[in-house]
Symmetry: C2
Subunit: 137 residues, 2 copies
Amino acid sequence: MAATKSFTRSPCAVANSLDIVGDKWSLLVVRDLLHGKRTYGELADSPERIPTNILADRLKRLEDAGIVTSTPYQQRPVRYAYTLTSKGKDLGDVLLAFVRWGKRHIPGTVVLGEAKAEGKRTTRKPATRRARRKRGS
Amino acid sequence: MAATKSFTRSPCAVANSLDIVGDKWSLLVVRDLLHGKRTYGELADSPERIPTNILADRLKRLEDAGIVTSTPYQQRPVRYAYTLTSKGKDLGDVLLAFVRWGKRHIPGTVVLGEAKAEGKRTTRKPATRRARRKRGS
DNA sequence: TCCAGTGACTTGCATTTTGCAAGTGATTAG
DNA sequence: CTAATCACTTGCAAAATGCAAGTCACTGGA
């Protein structure tokens, strides 16, 4: 028996996943990152208005969990750009499951980014339309 | 449209789903219910040892959200059997997504119930089913 | 009959986590 | 030199969590 990590609650995959992203904000941050947001400011700007202290904390936790990575994109006041690792990107399936469930069972909900234009063309992934920041300093 | 619900945070399907099941316990209760548990005692007996006050609270919330239904299976001290509605059963896909993610990214985690021969008859069926009184408050 | 025991919850706090508001440091615009 | 930004921190008050103990309605036993 390798991998004896002494789980906090149980070895259940669901329980352990919830210990990492089982709160009201973490998955929203992942959603935004998946949608192409990268800076603290962009993340804080989401319609759910996450308190900034919570955002800073979630970002830290997600980084500790290996879900996001922060790379400095500016030096003098050091500023970081947050991106998802592959572990983080894989949470997309969980998000998708939530989207399907929410759309089916909570009337009025939509998927941010494809709000209107509910036509057949599922235009996911809003093509990143943002000017490149200088990061290869 | 009855969808004049003025969402708490935003109309995002993910955000609203999280407002309902976005905590460390709710989905574990759903998991157990999906695995056939039905009484308070069976639910409280899970390896994660959910505090009983939290269990009572989650059951109440889940019922308010239309995810579980409680039917009395015994009258004299009135006792309820909890079962998932179709809305609740549909959360199975979300659970599945978490399972896949957890198994892939959190070493050592397993799926309760298919771990290793843990297969016992937990299906203790509360036989006497006399539906008569309804739960008032 | 009395009493310990059991299942299903409640109640009482102490601890922890939120969340709102305001503060801070670095740097740029004016 | 002052105002404004961005990206965070800090300070609490309020809410949620969790442990322990208590309650209620019975059951089985001495």
